[in-house]
């Protein structure tokens, strides 16, 4: 090999190393500075319970088929099918070994809003931190306080069952770089307190977009189709469009939407179905004003 060729080759190797380094730097797990989770005071447990229902934690983290009080045991393990493979949500009960009892508020908060696990690893966005990223540190603190009052479970959930390349955690940094944002999904009149509250609930803890917004091949939202309906990630059927352009609920009034979230009945007295049944149970536990705020926001969306 000539001298020039050797030089060229080592140049290329250097470039590749630099590129990999840059990729790692750009996509490494990024928890908040420690100060972000300090000075938040004692959690308000009652407020934390409202955040808990708004966030729908139990719908994925309770055991399969859990009813009533068993929904408060966040044992994990209920399979969540997706086009990328099957996820098994972990045990997030306060058990010190099987659950998150040994975590700090900062560790919990970084998982919730930055998708960073206790050991500093990337978490899969099947855990909707892409939505929870919008949650206030106060809500995270209150939620953490409430969750620590829940029963412990010693259950250990199976590991996620994902084919290559989705089993490579490092690649999630690339996904985050492309899609993880805490910016508003749409513009609504933020001066209207009710709309702003609805936006917070729907785009943040409620994580409605995770099912109701279509995704591209990499699992990122199609930004201009916000809440415009999507294929059911768990199999057949569709998750409906919930913008004012919807064929199914476009004609509903704000009070029709709020009433549906409270009772599970549509204006025609058809009933809630599919995975929305779990969601509606959670929404029914919120104060009426929260459901009204969600309804006001949905009515203010750009039609699909």
């Amino acid at each position: 090999m000539g001298r020039r060729a050797t030089r060229l080759l080592s140049g290329l190797v250097l470039l590749a190393v630099a590129g990999a380094g840059a990729f790692w730097w750009l996509t490494k797990p990024a928890p908040w500075d420690a100060a972000h989770w300090e000075g938040l005071g004692e959690p308000d447990i009652a407020s934390g319970e409202r955040v808990f229902w708004a966030g729908g934690c139990t719908s994925c983290h309770a055991a399969s088929g859990a009813k009533d009080d068993a929904r408060l045991v966040l044992a994990g393990g209920r399979p969540l099918k997706s086009p990328f493979g099957t996820f098994y949500p972990p045990n997030i009960s306060p058990d010190e070994t099987a659950g998150v009892g040994g975590w700090t508020l900062a560790e919990f908060g970084n998982a919730m809003t930055r998708g960073v696990g206790k050991d500093g690893e990337h978490l899969y966005p099947s855990f909707p931190y892409g939505s929870y990223a919008r949650m206030s540190p106060k809500d995270i603190t209150d939620l953490w306080g409430f969750m620590r009052t829940l029963p412990k479970s010693a259950n250990v959930a199976p590991p996620h069952d994902l084919p290559f390349p989705f089993n490579i955690r490092l690649a999630l940094g690339g996904w985050k770089l492309l899609y993880l944002t805490d910016a508003p999904r749409v513009d609504v009149n933020a001066a209207d307190a009710k709309l702003a509250r609805g936006q917070y609930l729907v785009e943040g803890p409620g994580h409605c977009g995770e099912c109701h917004t279509p995704r591209n091949a990499l699992g990122g939202f199609e930004a201009d189709r916000w809440l415009a309906g999507a294929p059911n990630p768990e199999g057949e059927g569709r998750i409906p469009d919930i913008t004012p352009g919807s064929k199914s609920i476009g004609g509903w009034s704000a009070s029709d939407i709020a009433s549906y979230l409270e009772t599970g009945f549509t204006p025609e007295f058809d009933s809630v179905g599919g995975s929305m049944v779990e969601v509606q149970k959670n929404m029914a536990k919120l104060p009426a004003s929260e459901r009204e705020a969600i309804a006001a926001y949905l009515k203010a969306l750009p039609p699909s």
């Binding site: 309906g229 059911n232 057949e236 059927g237 998750i239 064929k247 009945f265 007295f269 179905g273």
Partner: protein, 148 residues
């Protein structure tokens, strides 16, 4: 051979067309039955919301409609009616027919219980509707697929 294959295809296509258009096919019958239940729930809902005055006769008739309709409802899911005619029936119905029938029976049984102690006012109707609504949802959770 070719002609026979063509005739067979034509016959099958003919069957297909019949299945799509007949008003008494199972898909259409069960959709009508669900509409009846929805209307009965709507009559109760009007009272529960205070949009209509409490009327014991309407409450009784609506509950009776629900009880009677769900008795026959699960028998309209024969093999071969899994698809077509905009059915929202999930394939899981045929995989778990016993559970599907049990869920229908639960709604019928709850309607029966409520009939035995007829709700006497608006609040009572609201509470009854809460019980029935949970039954509707628990079946629709597993066995109904939304297509749009």
């Amino acid at each position: 051979m070719k002609i026979r294959a063509f005739a067979l295809a034509a016959a099958l296509a003919g069957l297909g067309i019949t299945a799509v258009t007949a008003a008494d096919e199972p898909q259409a019958v069960r959709q009508q039955l669900m509409k009846k239940v929805g209307q009965a729930a709507g009559a109760l809902g009007g009272i529960a919301k205070g949009e209509k005055p409490y009327d014991a006769e309407i409450v009784k008739a609506s509950l009776t409609t629900i009880r009677e309709t769900v008795k026959v409802f699960p028998s309209h899911f024969p093999a071969g009616s899994e698809t077509g005619s905009e059915t929202e029936a999930s394939p899981k119905i045929w995989q778990n027919m016993d559970d599907f029938k049990a869920k229908a029976a639960k709604l019928g049984g709850d309607a029966e219980k409520i009939l035995a102690e007829l709700p006497a006012d608006q609040a009572g109707v609201g509470a009854a509707l809460g019980v029935l609504g949970k039954d509707c949802a628990s079946c629709h959770e597993s066995y109904r697929l939304k297509k749009e």
